[in-house]
Symmetry: C2
Subunit: 594 residues, 2 copies
């Protein structure tokens, strides 16, 4: 049976890598301790393994259909989604006053990784609903919160994020959906595309958190507002059709349990929307939720790579083929070094990614619920890590998913086996919630430039180096990470200078290489600290009653740490050279030359 995510990884990240006590000491989390966390994790695991994972293939094989203007999803979805709602996951990290359980995002992220690994689409409905409700919680009026947020957090209604328009794609400044004032509400007219969960019959209502332009608003980002536009509006206590129609389905190549649709607002001139917060602040509001959404995408990526890693690990242990020197009969393919290479690379990406996502969630918890300088510093760290946490699992996770297919050989190329479906699922993560190119521009152009961000990051890495030194980790690994960190610092300063002295194009030319460089270093940091954890555990004769099984586990982490630090980390020098030298092959490329 595929474990989806390795429980030991989750335990080690929570108990040994991160300072969980720093969270439980905060008033917001006062009702929680390690035992309540364990209950959350245990219930997520069992739902994921017993219910969501067995339902995955059916959903992949029978995507939603559009019939008579309605989206029909697979009939099994109703019960599956209900089970996740019953888990309380729609509002889990939110305050008790809105129906949440004030669970640290750190724990919530790790728990949801099981659900995502089991069945991305099912969790998708819940994640989107939480995002939509959170926008109303943060910026909506009391009335909007009571009418639309509350049923979403209760899981009775669901929500979507309706940003993208057909002509504009990622360019939110070109949004043309129009909202015309009409008393207490607006009349909305326009179209959206790629709206996940845009229509289905899994809930009593669907609330579209929509970016639109109030008639007469200034052009560009500054004229975009956030509106709450339900599928059915509440009038005199009854639900009335609100003139939001589905004009097409996008036939996605993965995530096939979750419909993606084209929406038209106001085809009959009767689509009501309610302004959320102030006019023209829509982009700002959305961006305040963006870190959270991007961390969710990063978790999608890690989880999708994780389930495939475990599937290929199991296959590599069972499948016999070929011989190692001296063997007289075929051996399990895990005995071949090149198969172990493909497994260890997957592990390095999956567990390194999971540690990073948990850490970003940890900073988010501190940023939101600690006070003063601690919160501010955590926010800086969260901001600078988010583009990496979003894009690394998408890019390297896709590679990991391809390796899982490769390990399965010809079988991996068939739909009788599941790895190909996860490969399809994964590809979305480099596209939605800001493409990898956008993450790169955001990291180098804004987040790494934020005052104090890289200093704080350097301090965190240095703390990991100190811990590793104390634990007796290979000094060469520590030195290599220290050196890499200084490369990031010097390079960033040099590029910032280039931007300040009138050459922003030159500064940004290799933003994607910069992102890859920074990601490689940040993952190396996770692995160095996981290596420190392993050394501590092994030296301490495996505390807390652990066994030989644990010793093997820690040795596996040391191997993955070595792999990443010695095979991937050295690549940063070449990447830094490209950023620094301004290699201009595509920069100076005239499109007519292609």
């Amino acid at each position: 049976m595929n474990p989806l995510v390795d429980d030991r990884d989750v335990e080690v990240i929570l108990d040994e890598l991160l300072d969980l006590a720093a969270l439980t000491a905060l008033p917001y989390f006062a009702d929680h301790d390690r035992e309540t966390f364990e209950m959350v994790l245990a219930s997520a695991r069992s739902l994921a393994r017993d219910t969501l994972y067995p339902a995955y293939r059916t959903l992949d094989e029978a995507p939603p259909v559009l019939r008579d203007g309605r989206v029909h999803v697979h009939p099994s979805l109703r019960a599956l989604v209900r089970r996740v709602v019953e888990l309380g996951f729609t509002a889990a990290p939110r305050p008790a006053e809105v129906g949440g359980s004030q669970l640290p995002l750190t724990v919530f992220s790790l728990a949801t990784s099981y659900l995502m690994a089991a069945n991305l689409s099912v969790y998708g409905y819940i994640g989107l609903t939480q995002g939509a409700a959170h926008l109303l919680e943060a910026f909506g009026s009391d009335e909007l919160r009571a009418t639309y947020m509350a049923p979403m957090y209760r899981g009775e209604w669901m929500g979507t994020m309706a940003l993208t328009e057909p002509h504009a794609g990622s360019s939110l400044s070109d949004i043309t959906t129009v909202a015309t004032p009409a008393g207490d509400h607006y009349l909305v007219s326009g179209a959206k595309i790629f709206i996940s969960g845009a229509d289905h019959d899994l809930a009593g209502n669907i609330v579209h958190m929509t970016l639109a332009r109030i008639a007469g608003a200034p052009p560009g980002m500054k004229g975009v507002s956030l509106l709450c536009i339900p599928k059915q509006r509440v009038e005199h206590g009854a639900l009335v059709d609100n003139d939001v129609s589905v004009t097409g389905l996008v036939h996605k190549i993965g995530w096939r349990g979750l419909p993606s649709a084209i929406l038209a607002y106001g085809e009959r001139g009767d689509c009501h929307g309610w302004l959320v917060g102030e006019p023209h602040q829509g982009i700002r509001y959305m961006f305040q939720m963006m870190n959270e959404a991007r961390i969710m995408v990063g978790l999608n990526g890690v989880s999708t790579a994780s389930v495939a890693y475990h599937e290929s690990l199991h296959y590599a242990r069972e499948r016999t083929q070929g011989r190692t020197p001296g063997a007289t009969s075929p051996v399990p393919i895990i005995q071949h070094a090149d198969v172990r290479r493909m497994l260890l690379r997957q592990k390095a990406i999956v567990v390194g990614g999971l540690a990073l996502l948990a850490r970003a969630s940890f900073y988010s918890d501190l940023a939101q619920h600690a006070e003063g300088a601690i919160a501010g510093r955590a926010q800086l760290l969260l901001d600078v890590l988010t583009p990496i946490a979003k894009s690394f699992p998408a890019e390297r996770g896709f590679e990991a998913n391809a390796l899982a297919v490769q390990i399965h050989g010809g079988y991996g190329y068939s739909s009788e086996y599941l790895p190909e479906s996860w490969l399809r699922d994964q590809k979305l993560n480099s596209i939605h919630e800001g493409t990898t190119g956008i993450q790169a521009a955001d990291l180098l152009g804004r987040r790494a430039m934020a005052k104090g961000a890289l200093v704080a990051l350097g301090q965190e890495i240095e703390a990991a180096c100190a811990r590793a030194t104390k634990a007796g980790v290979d000094a060469a690994w520590i030195a290599e990470l220290r050196r890499a960190t200084s490369v990031v610092g010097a390079l960033t300063a040099e590029l910032a200078q280039r931007g300040l002295t009138g050459d922003p194009t030159g500064m940004m030319l290799h933003a994607t290489d910069y992102l890859e460089l920074a990601s490689t270093v940040v993952i190396a940091w996770q692995w160095l600290e996981l290596a420190a954890v392993a050394k501590e555990a092994l030296a301490g004769s495996l505390p807390r009653g652990r066994s030989t099984r644990d010793e093997r586990y820690y040795r596996g982490n040391l191997a993955a740490a070595q792999y990443w630090i010695r095979t991937e980390l050295p690549r940063i020098d070449g990447l830094a050279t490209l950023c620094r030298d301004g290699e201009d092959s595509y920069g100076a490329l005239d499109p007519a030359w292609l």
Copy 2:
């Protein structure tokens, strides 16, 4: 309209990169000249563009089904395959005496790249048939040639290569299909899996070139024989069912016009097979055809990346989104540097790959049809380049295909657009005809070790460097390729020494990194020489009546050359360090640690 493959690339490779005159001077090619080549290319282009490409989506959407023990392929396939047969492509490179037209493989490869880019599956039937017939031509008795080879070369019958068995996968030494002597033939019993084109109704008969073990044969590779096993055998001039049955279909994720099936031989005890050549020589015979088959797979990879590259190039020119500094309205996305990065990377992979495949074909032509030292040297070069020509397009081509999806954004993630289908098609190429891991082991363990192979390769690269110097190519690029070539030489010698002194495991530990290193250098060589060609053309005021259009074309090649040499080539030092230092994270990894 998607050009599938850029005609200018093909022209430049044939006319300016390679020494075509060295081929046309050979007696075997005496009936050919540039004009006959152009006719072949023109007819392939027009069939590919007008007929095969428009049929692609239909085949992808309606894969073969197994019904009543027979495989039913899409009804449109009969006419499509017939058109390729009419082109004369089944036997084109073969001698006139067997019905071929003695076309250089160099030209044939470039011509087939259009067919593959248009519709991999359709060409697949023909490529497999040619391979099967070629085995009989090379090793079969006169009777087998007359009975089974001739109708295959005429395109009336089709053929397959039946190597893989369910339990054995890539490990041909574990084949268990048994052939028991029964007079002039053998009675065959056993099962094969992943047999492409194993059953269909597109031809009068299907001939399975099958690896099997004659009853009582020694174990391992040395006991494997090659048998000709038709679906229907010829008895007294009539076709009689030969007891080969289809027991299952593999539901492939791509190449969906070409069935892949599980075959059972002799379920009724009446499956006749005929020995091809001598007993126990099956592996040797197969391997003599292997270079050709692997070059075909390399071309599959290049072609699949090429069609997607052109699709994304077209999309990037048409699709407007976002703004460049100073722009007041959305610009075509090709104006964004990061989109040009993704396009130029695809071009570098596609055109660099195509040049390599054409060059490998050129060496194959010389090896087979030149004489003495020239032929011997060409064979060495072909042997050492084949693992690279097979695996580079599969691995980097997959990455290129993913970039084509990425450029299409959310649309790329939908089956309304074609890039996702080519991504699925491409993945097979790292698996069939020897996985990438097998190519790596073959390159480092055998082919690079062949006496004189690397010397000959070094001479070829040095000739390219000299040409580049003369043409005025950037001296730094030339120096970098020279240095890279010496890195390959020194590293190979060091690893060979390690193998000879009792540490073959240490020698082979980073074989995959060695393959990547060698591939990067070999593609840099193609690009340096294409840069030389560009400089020659630009300096010579565009010979042969060429225009501004050509000037732009050559500048594009210079940009791609710069891209590969400056961004990819420097990576070899890190790879060499891994090979040399014997980094042992996965080498020493105990499977129990995972």
